[in-house]
């Protein structure tokens, strides 16, 4: 049974399952680079107690698929898998896992970095931060998948 390469889930994320799935389905690869995003205990001077992630799930899955496709176009030999968790997450828990597989490590690293940068730009998921003394919705980028300048920024960061 295969693991989906793209997912939004309220379950604990399993990086090894992503890595195994990519390794199992690509015999020409020489590298897989993982990325794990964690909930940290501080943000902008606040002591964070936990985060609640909310998603527009149907669109979030589509946006993740779009990013995976973009990465494959940018580094044609590279496959990316990405799972994002939603719901309540405590400090130290993984909110996102990414794995990129490629014949060459440089492309795998770049595609992995590209994916997390693009997630922050265009995937409709929001953090509700609960900190000591209050709570706040975090708001980052206005999501516009057709914003070519934003996409180029993500690409440049990935290749830096």
């Amino acid at each position: 049974m295969g693991v989906p390469l793209v997912a939004v889930t309220d379950r604990v994320l399993d990086l090894q399952a992503l890595v195994d799935e990519l390794a199992r389905t690509g015999s020409g690869d020489g590298a897989i680079t993982p990325f794990v995003g964690l909930v940290r205990d501080h943000n902008q001077g606040r002591r964070v107690e936990y985060l609640e992630y909310e998603a527009y799930e149907a669109l979030a899955v589509r946006a993740l698929q779009r990013i995976v496709d973009e990465a494959r176009q940018a580094w044609s030999d590279t496959r990316v898998a990405v799972h994002h968790r939603i719901g309540r997450l405590d400090i130290g828990e993984a909110s996102i896992i990414i794995a990129a597989a490629s014949p060459h490590r440089a492309h795998a690293f770049a595609a992995c970095r590209y994916t997390i940068e693009r997630v922050k730009q265009i995937v409709p998921i929001w953090k509700h931060e609960h900190f000591a003394g209050g709570d706040v919705w975090l708001e980052g980028a206005t999501a516009d998948p057709d914003d070519e300048a934003a996409r180029q920024t993500a690409y440049r960061i990935a290749c830096a």
Partner: protein, 81 residues
Amino acid sequence: MRVTIRLFARLRDLAGSGELVRDVPHPATVQTVWRTLVSEMPALSEYERTMSVAVNADYSRMTASVNDGDEVAFLPPVSGG
């Protein structure tokens, strides 16, 4: 005609609900739906310049046309990862 409005994160909190059903005149655009919403809840208007919109779970534009039964979503700036 009738549309379902989806709101998320702080927009949902401000509206007090993540899902609303509203009648809008035909023909309508996403902008028509937004104006209907803001006339009812003026506090939402602060998001007019920073939000994104989606129709039937696909990113869209304020000028896009909306049909009976469509799901129209208004999205604050995102903060995933």
